[in-house]
């Protein structure tokens, strides 16, 4: 057996899209989809694909724990705490896609392997996954005094959870810009744009570099390298134009086109979240399987 078994709690948009990402991971085996609505699209699709389906939530999963090694939580920050307590007590690894931020933040191209020991790993936010790699790409070359990100997503791709938790989005993202991105101070702004046809996720990173003199070419090279690193798991991640320098200020414009698994391609915000979570779990599985062997 060279794969770890995966359970997904939350059969909504994120959970369903994640299912398709898991199917493409070489060290993960999609096993169980857990929801609370037997008629949900996500549970139906999981059933059709031949996976075990549980429609009475975490209680149902707790009775069939042997079916999972790693559990993704794609429910809500509020529900996550209880899920995490139960699962980690049972020795399962938990990957948190809500903004609950109980476990350490993970952004794959920055600290992919840093938190494998942790029983709960948090995936920050969609805006964080899209921008923190760039903040880090700058801060690994020159100290960054302040970094601010602006994430613009299509209204249609922001579900009720995101809308109700808009303050949590800004708090969690800002904190992760500091903790993972390496900026001394972080700030996050999110904008929901209702234009039709829906707009592709756009992100802007504005950073203030601490030193007056720095190697502009090295910063650009670092950003470009980072973009290719993210493209490994999100092929539609790209720069829009060259990074702009104005004194100590750097501005980087990005666009994130999704893979179009369950969501339309404009929802790069959702895609980058599920792709990053799948990547973390897959690498974690590799390491766990290697130590077991």
């Amino acid at each position: 057996m060279n794969k770890l078994k995966v359970g997904i709690i939350g059969s909504g948009n994120i959970g369903t899209d994640l299912m398709y990402k898991i199917e493409r991971c070489d060290s993960l085996e999609m096993s169980v989809m857990v929801g609370i609505d037997p008629d949900s699209e996500g549970l139906k699709r999981a059933q059709d694909a031949g996976y075990t389906v549980i429609s009475n939530g975490i209680d149902g999963l707790m009775k069939q724990l042997d079916l999972v090694d790693i559990v993704f939580d794609a429910t809500s920050a509020y529900a996550h705490k209880a899920h995490s307590d139960l699962l980690t007590a049972a020795g399962k690894k938990v990957i948190d896609l809500t903004p609950a931020a109980i476990g350490p933040f993970t952004v794959p191209p920055v600290n992919l392997k840093a938190n494998f020991e942790s029983s709960n790993v948090n995936m920050v936010t969609c805006g964080g996954q899209a921008t923190i790699p760039i903040v880090y790409a700058i801060s690994r070359i020159v100290p960054v005094e302040y970094a601010e990100i602006v994430a613009t997503v299509a209204s249609k791709s922001a579900g009720p959870g995101t809308r109700a938790n808009i303050d949590e989005f800004t708090h969690t993202t800002a904190r992760a810009i500091e903790v993972v991105g390496g900026a001394e101070k972080g700030k996050a702004i999110i904008i929901l744009n209702p234009a039709e046809p829906p707009v592709i996720m756009r992100d802007t990173v504005n950073a203030l570099i601490k030193d007056k003199n720095f190697d502009e070419a090295a910063v650009i090279a670092s950003i470009e390298k980072m973009v290719t690193d993210v493209q490994e798991y999100v092929p539609g991640y790209r720069l829009r134009g060259a990074p702009q320098f104005d004194g100590q200020r750097v501005s980087v414009f990005l666009e994130v086109e999704g893979a179009g698994d369950f969501f339309p391609a404009y929802s790069g915000n959702l895609d980058i979240m599920t792709a990053a979570a799948a990547k973390v779990a897959n690498e974690m599985a590799k390491e766990l399987l290697a130590t077991k062997a």
Binding site: Y146, E148, V150, T152, S155, P160, R163, A164, I166, D167, T170, H171, K187, I189, I190, I191, L192, N193, P194, A195, V199, R202, T204, N206, L208, R240, G241, Q244, R249, S251, F253
Partner: protein, 335 residues
């Protein structure tokens, strides 16, 4: 003399922040607040142009801490009350709690006209803190009357006491205002407000249309100091409404004094309708993009009107200032 049926809310110290590049000084705020209070204005707004927490590289860093400015303004109030703007996604609940400690008594929670449901927790907090709580539908020209009614009902369900139709782009014509305000009057129980911009020289006509359709909160700014070509000019609005037979409760000479002796002295430029602000009104672009567009046009060597037309075409909404640089950069490559 029965016709006093509305409140004039002055936004000089908030919308004017855009024109001042977010650099109001404590002295300017103190003198303006004192003049507004003395003239009998009941509510006036003090915040970064993009609301609490707006100080950023994206919108412009505040030269002075906005909480300090709110405190100074509140300190000058004998009868008036200070309002603050909060745009969810930019500002957070903690910012509002801080503003209340600094003396704010009213909050206007602003969302794009179709996105009212991001504001539920902020409106609830406003009520919980005992503030006069307002829902502010920005870029109201971009939605149909039915959509505005649906979104206003959401605001009302969260606890908003007043709902604003906000013509952020200065795009609306009087009939657009009449249609929206009348529909809201029929379908929601709370009070209705109107906030205009003068990009098409329609701010005053739209204000009159709003009042006649039943709006009971009307925004203005002294000497029209505000984003784009500015807002409905407060002191002129007092004169016009008095002529129409309304009693505004505002001392005409005193409001003229604060406009001309205080605000006019610190305005960086007159609020005239320039080529760019005219394009904004014509193509429906968010008024606070004006100065950012001028900077981007210079930087990339392109015509600012081309940037604005493109922003209108791709349906940019409030807050997307980063898109200006993106568009300017792309236009520069095409040249």
């Amino acid at each position: 003399m029965e016709k006093k049926s509305f409140e004039i809310l002055d936004v000089t110290l908030r919308d004017g922040s855009h024109s001042m590049s977010h650099a109001f000084t404590p002295q300017q705020v103190r003198e303006t607040a004192r003049g507004l209070d003395a003239a009998g204005v009941r509510y006036f707004e003090v915040s970064h142009g993009d609301g609490l927490g707006g100080s950023s590289l994206q919108y412009g860093l505040s030269a002075h801490d906005e909480l300090k400015l709110i405190e100074i303004a509140a300190d000058e109030c004998k009868q008036a009350e200070v309002s603050v703007l909060l745009i969810p996604g930019i500002g957070v609940k903690g910012d509002l709690q801080d503003a209340v400690k600094a003396g704010a008594k009213m909050v206007r929670v602003a969302t794009h006209v179709t996105e009212a449901d991001v504001a539920a927790q902020h409106i609830a907090l406003g009520r919980e803190l005992g503030l006069k709580t307002v829902g502010f539908l920005m870029m109201s020209h971009m939605a149909s009357v039915e959509k505005i009614v649906e979104q206003a009902k959401l605001f009302e369900s969260y606890g908003a006491e007043v709902i604003y139709v906000t013509d952020s782009a200065g795009y609306m014509l009087p009939q657009d205002v009449t249609n929206r305000i009348s529909a809201l009057k029929q379908s929601v129980g709370c009070e209705i407000g109107f906030h205009g911009h003068n990009n098409l020289s329609m701010a005053m006509a739209n204000t009159v249309a709003a009042v006649e359709a039943g709006a009971t909160f009307i925004d203005g700014s002294l000497r029209a100091l505000g984003a784009g070509s500015g807002n409905t000019q407060t002191e002129v609005m007092v004169a016009v409404l008095e002529r129409l037979g309304y009693q505004t409760g505002i001392d005409f000479y005193k409001i003229m004094d604060v406009a001309n002796d205080v605000v006019a002295k610190y305005m960086p430029r007159p609020q005239e309708i320039s080529g760019s602000s005219l394009i904004m009104g014509y193509s429906g672009v968010y008024s606070s993009f004006l100065l950012h567009t001028q900077v981007a046009a210079k930087r990339f060597g392109v015509d600012e009107r081309d940037i604005l037309v493109e922003l209108g075409r791709i349906k940019a909404i409030g807050g997307q200032e980063d898109l200006i640089y993106d568009v300017a950069q792309r236009l520069a490559v095409q040249i």
